[in-house]
Every structure is written in structure tokens, then in C-alpha cells.
């Protein structure tokens, strides 16, 4: 647990000092929102409300990919990755620290990007901010573990930025299905249904366990 806290603290403090990942994720998210404006000529009509959950999660996935690509790339400098591998504790905790940091950054960007989306497409997301935040958090907790695990793999390959989305996107289907459904239910009924929350919890739990164990085999010196 102490390792988790230390890694988390290290990642957050580096991010706070440079702010490059969050800024990159945010700028990219806003650009995607602008692309939506061109992709949906009549997007500002009532139609947009139906598509909001899906469109939002596309933004979030793109933001996550941008952030995750950097998650381990920054550890390559000065061979910091080898240092992480040599930590005298279960490497799973290194993973957990990294994954929690990734989740927090993504969650922050989600909030800002959703606010911008609601603003420009005139959708009142603030009214259901709390349940929305809950669904976003559950979805993010599903993206973060697989994303962190696969990012640690991709960073050790050629074409790492290309490989990560190819590895990650097929694995995200259960998370995205639950998250999009949950978001739609919040916007429609004011709260997510038991089924989507249950699905997200189950998937999150399974992913955290698999990735916690699997990370031991992924990180090496």
C-alpha cells in the first residue's frame, strides 16, 4: 500500500509540475468536440441528446489513449522503468499506483470535457452532475487498469503509440457498453439502472484483479 501511495504521489506531483498530460488530453478532447460540430451538421437539435452518451465516451476514450501513451513513456527517461521494476515490493502495487494516477487524471479531463460538451451543444449536464460523475468514475475505473497494463506493454514495443489503441480498444467493449448505457440512463431517468452499475462493478473488479496479477509479468528490468 505504501508503494501505491508513493507511486501515485510521484505521478501526480510530476503531472502538477509539468501539466503536459492533462493539457494534451484536454486540448485533444476539445478538438474532438469541435470535430463533432462538423460531423453533425444539425447536431444542435434535439437529436444530440440521444447521442450524447456515445459521443461523450468517444471523447473520453481518445483522451484516455493520449494520456495512457504517456503514462509509461515518461518512465523510459533515465531508465526509470527499471527502477520501478526493482522496487522491493509486489509489482502489483506499482501497477495500482500508476492506474489510480491515470484514473484520476482521466476523471479530471472527463469532467472538463463533459462541461465543454454540454456548453457548446446546449445540454444541461449540470442538473445530473452527481450521478454522471458516478458513472464516469466507474467507467474510468474500468479503463484505467487495462489501459495501464497495456500501456506498460506497448511502451516496450516498436510503434508504441500505434499499438496501444489496437490492444486497448477491443478490451474496452464491456466497460464502454456499461458506461454508455449508464450515462444514457442518467440523462434519461436521472440515475443509472442497477444492471449497468452492476456490470461496471463486475468488469472493474475483474480488470483490477487480472491486471494486478498480470503486471508482474509485464514489468521487467
Amino acid at each position: 500500500m505504501r508503494v501505491l501511495a508513493a507511486i501515485l504521489w510521484k505521478d501526480l506531483i510530476t503531472e502538477w509540475r509539468s501539466r503536459d498530460r492533462v493539457v494534451a488530453m484536454l486540448v485533444f478532447s476539445l478538438l474532438v468536440v469541435i470535430v463533432y460540430h462538423f460531423a453533425l451538421p444539425e447536431g444542435t437539435g434535439p437529436d444530440i441528446a440521444v447521442h450524447t452518451p456515445g459521443l461523450l465516451w468517444v471523447v473520453f476514450v481518445f483522451a484516455a489513449l493520449i494520456g495512457l501513451n504517456r503514462a509509461f513513456a515518461m518512465e523510459l527517461e533515465n531508465d526509470a522503468l527499471a527502477g520501478l521494476a526493482l522496487i522491493p515490493a509486489d509489482r502489483g502495487w506499482v501497477f495500482a499506483g500508476k492506474a489510480v494516477a491515470n484514473a484520476l487524471l482521466l476523471f479530471l479531463v472527463q469532467g472538463l470535457a463533459a462541461a465543454a460538451f454540454g456548453l457548446v451543444f446546449d445540454i444541461d449536464l449540470a442538473a445530473s452532475a452527481l450521478p454522471l460523475a458516478g458513472v464516469f468514475a466507474l467507467g474510468t475505473l474500468g479503463i484505467a487498469p487495462v489501459g495501464t497494463l497495456l500501456s506498460a506493454m506497448a511502451v516496450r514495443t516498436r510503434f508504441r503509440e500505434v499499438l496501444l489503441p489496437i490492444l486497448l480498444l477491443p478490451a474496452l467493449f464491456p466497460v464502454l457498453a456499461g458506461a454508455v448505457e449508464g450515462t444514457a440512463e442518467v440523462l434519461r431517468d436521472g440515475g443509472p439502472s442497477f444492471a449497468s452499475v452492476q456490470l461496471l462493478l463486475v468488469v472493474d473488479g475483474i480488470y483490477w484483479i487480472i491486471c494486478f496479477i498480470g503486471f508482474d509479468y509485464v514489468l521487467d528490468e
Binding site: 487495462v146 497494463l149 497495456l150 506493454m153 516496450r156 514495443t157 516498436r158 510503434f159 499499438l163 489496437i166 490492444l167 480498444l169 477491443p170 478490451a171 467493449f173 464491456p174 457498453a177 456499461g178 448505457e181 444492471a195 449497468s196 452492476q198 456490470l199 463486475v202 468488469v203 475483474i206 487480472i210 491486471c211 498480470g214 509479468y217 509485464v218 521487467d220
Partner: protein, 236 residues
């Protein structure tokens, strides 16, 4: 090198011979199977499509199980078998994804439908394409093997999760629930059985051949890396 090599080689010979016999009977029974009264001749895809699906899933199970064995035992032969399973699985899966829409166009009237089973299989196909890309983009050696094993296990965990998703959100299936329960017309049982049997044996024949090839490659690489062996070869 290991005791499994000669056994695998013998198994491949036996399955190859068996495959030859089965193929002839298979083609004969399919050619003589009755034409479906509703769907017409296109229904004969039945004798190829589901057997391919079983092979595809089997390949992915082989990959995941061998990946797990590799992580557990750190024995490279399991990793090489995992490669064989993934490659043959992807080929079976690709053929299934090709034959499916042809049948669908003839019977459902459209090439594709987001039927649960289709969706899950398509996702699985992407997972294992990613698996092969991961292998080819990594630098090789133990790290590649470990990465691939972990990814293969994540991939197999996705199958039940994806079905869980579909069950919760109630995807309407267009695939028949159970083919075996007497839904086959008269005279269609035998060619269907032959199709399953033949492609099952073909699957293992391909896997064993691919495994042997990978074993030989590893042997060749080891030999090239060993200066003594090279010197001995030069003298001879």
C-alpha cells in the same frame, strides 16, 4: 530438446492421414446432402461455418491456456504452441467471418447484423489480431512471450464478460440457440457431423504443423547462437 517433439510430429502424421480420408468423405457427404427447401443451396454453408467457429474458439483457448502455462512454467515450448493456436485460430475466425455474411446475405437479407454472437466474435477476432501485432511489434524473446501470454489471458477473460454485457442489455440474437437439438433437416446431420470432425482434425493438424515449425525455428536460432555447434558444422 523436449519429449513432446517426436510425439507432436507423430501426431501430426496421424492427423494428416486422418484428415486426407475425412476430407474425401466430407466433400462427398456435403455434395450429396439434400438442398434446403427454404434457403436453397446456400444453406450448405452450415457444413463449414459452425465448425470454423468451434475451431476459432478452440484456437483462442489453446493460446490462453498455453500462455498461462508459459507464465507458470517459463518453458518456451508452451509459448510456441500459443503462437500456433493464435495463428490457426485467427485463420479459422477469419474464414468464419467471411462465410457468415455470405450466408447472412442469402437468408437474413443483409451482410451484417449486430447480433450478439457476431459482435462478440468480431471483438475476439480483433483481440487476437492485436495479439499477433503485439508479437510482431515486440523485439522477440522472453519479453514478447510474456506480453503475449498476458494479453492472451486478458482476451479469453473478455469472452464471458462480453456475453455478460449482451445478456444484461438484451441483444436480440439471430443465431439459432442450439443446432443440435433436432433442428437439422433429414440427411443434414451426417454432413454436419463430418464438417465438425474434419475441421476439428484439420485444426489440430495445422496447430501441430505450426508448432513444429516454430520449434525448428527456435532450434535453428539456438544453433546459430552456439559457436561450438557452428564450428562443428563447418568442420563437417
Amino acid at each position: 530438446m523436449n519429449g513432446l517433439g517426436p510425439i507432436a510430429s507423430r501426431l501430426r502424421t496421424v492427423s494428416g492421414a486422418l484428415l486426407g480420408i475425412l476430407l474425401v468423405t466430407y466433400v462427398y457427404t456435403v455434395a450429396n446432402a439434400p438442398i434446403d427447401s427454404v434457403q436453397g443451396v446456400i444453406q450448405k454453408i452450415l457444413y463449414v461455418h459452425p465448425p470454423l467457429a468451434y475451431g476459432a474458439y478452440l484456437g483462442f483457448v489453446v493460446t490462453a491456456v498455453c500462455g498461462g502455462l508459459y507464465l507458470w512454467r517459463a518453458d518456451e515450448k508452451w509459448d510456441r504452441l500459443a503462437i500456433a493456436g493464435a495463428e490457426v485460430g485467427v485463420i479459422f475466425c477469419t474464414l468464419m467471418i467471411v462465410t457468415g455474411p455470405i450466408w447472412a446475405k442469402g437468408t437474413w437479407g443483409k451482410w451484417w447484423s449486430w447480433d450478439p454472437r457476431l459482435t462478440v466474435t468480431l471483438l475476439l477476432w480483433f483481440v487476437y489480431l492485436a495479439y499477433l501485432l503485439l508479437r510482431s511489434f515486440s523485439e522477440g524473446g522472453a519479453r514478447t512471450a510474456r506480453f503475449a501470454a498476458v494479453y492472451g489471458l486478458v482476451g479469453i477473460a473478455l469472452i464471458p464478460l462480453n456475453y455478460f454485457v449482451i445478456e444484461i442489455f438484451g441483444g436480440r440474437g439471430m443465431h439459432p440457440e442450439n443446432l443440435e437439438r433436432g433442428s437439422l433437416g433429414e440427411g443434414m446431420g451426417l454432413p454436419f457431423l463430418m464438417g465438425n470432425l474434419t475441421l476439428f482434425v484439420a485444426f489440430w493438424w495445422f496447430v501441430l504443423a505450426r508448432w513444429e515449425l516454430e520449434n525448428l525455428r527456435a532450434l535453428g536460432l539456438a544453433k546459430r547462437a552456439d559457436p561450438m555447434a557452428r564450428a562443428r558444422e563447418e568442420i563437417a
